[in-house]
Amino acid sequence: MKIDDLKNSFDAISPTPEQKDKMLTEILNAEDKVKGFNFTRLFTTAIGLAAVIAISVVAFNYGDFNVTEYENMVAYKTEEPAQKKTIKEENAIKKSAKTEKKENVQVAAPVTEDKTETIVAEAPVPMSMARTIENPENVEAEDANENSGIAVASEENEHNLGIAVVSEENTTDNVEWMTVPALEEVEDLEEENVRTEEDKETEEELEEETEENEEETKAVTE
């Protein structure tokens, strides 16, 4: 076998001119198809996106209306109008009762807070010491009398705090120390008591002045 024979054999494998033209036209059309495909793909995707957005917007706006309308329709079909009214009225009464209860509870709550505050305020026990007593049960107001104004700490607190009884009148003199007292706390107590006495005096003076002014105004009017 010669090499020329082999070359000639490969020469036989060649497309005819018709085949060549056909392939070339298909190649050139394929390029157009590729371009067209890109354009159509973009166009279709844009239209699809717009349709999805429009449908979602319409569904969002129209969905609530449909739900309420459907609920109304179902209620109208299932229940009679008279029964509907009664049910609604009952519901309204229940709701009003619940709201009233809630209001009462809300009003009652601060009263307890006030009680604790009043106990602390009435007692001439120094504020710093009184605040340390967390449980109001340990504090026993001996009487509800405003004059006495005595607060007694429990035995545990007596030992812990070193304060037994404090009276409203002459607080500094009536303090009886059951155990070793803290000197700094006593000084603070004295200062606070002095301040409260001064405040009371100023209040009394102001009241007297107001009474005098009122009497003068009455006399002027007469």
Partner: protein, 165 residues
Amino acid sequence: MTDSFKHRNDDVIAVYNKFSDTVYRVCFVMLKNVQEAEDATQNTFIKYMNYGKEFESDEHIKAWLIVTAKNECKNNLTHWFKSRRTDFEELPDVPYEDEHKSEVLEKVLSLDKKYSVPLYLHYYEGYKTHEIANMLNMNHSTLRANMNKARKKLKLLLEEEEYEN
């Protein structure tokens, strides 16, 4: 935009007129089917159109087209047998359609594609063995061994035919 496409089309037509026969032969040697060879050549030139980079010379274009045609045929063969995907060397041969009537060609195409393609590229296109090895992504020594085997097999086939005649 249209001018660039026209220029591109002209370029494609020029390249097609130069190398369409080579690409078609490579495809036919590998696929052994006229219609499939036509499809493979079309796809190869479509890839050339969509290829963005510039080529240094005509030889560069020719080499690129041969490699692309080889890969296209390989993909076509693997696609043809979808049930199992195997390596290019292990792909089964498709029976040859007796359209190009030549005894030698018939014997060449009856060989495995790992023998026939290097024979075509070496003896017809005039490529050297190391160039063919680069194109087909093969080791140079294995390619030379394959070519020796191909020659021996072809010789045997032709001798058998002469003996039969």
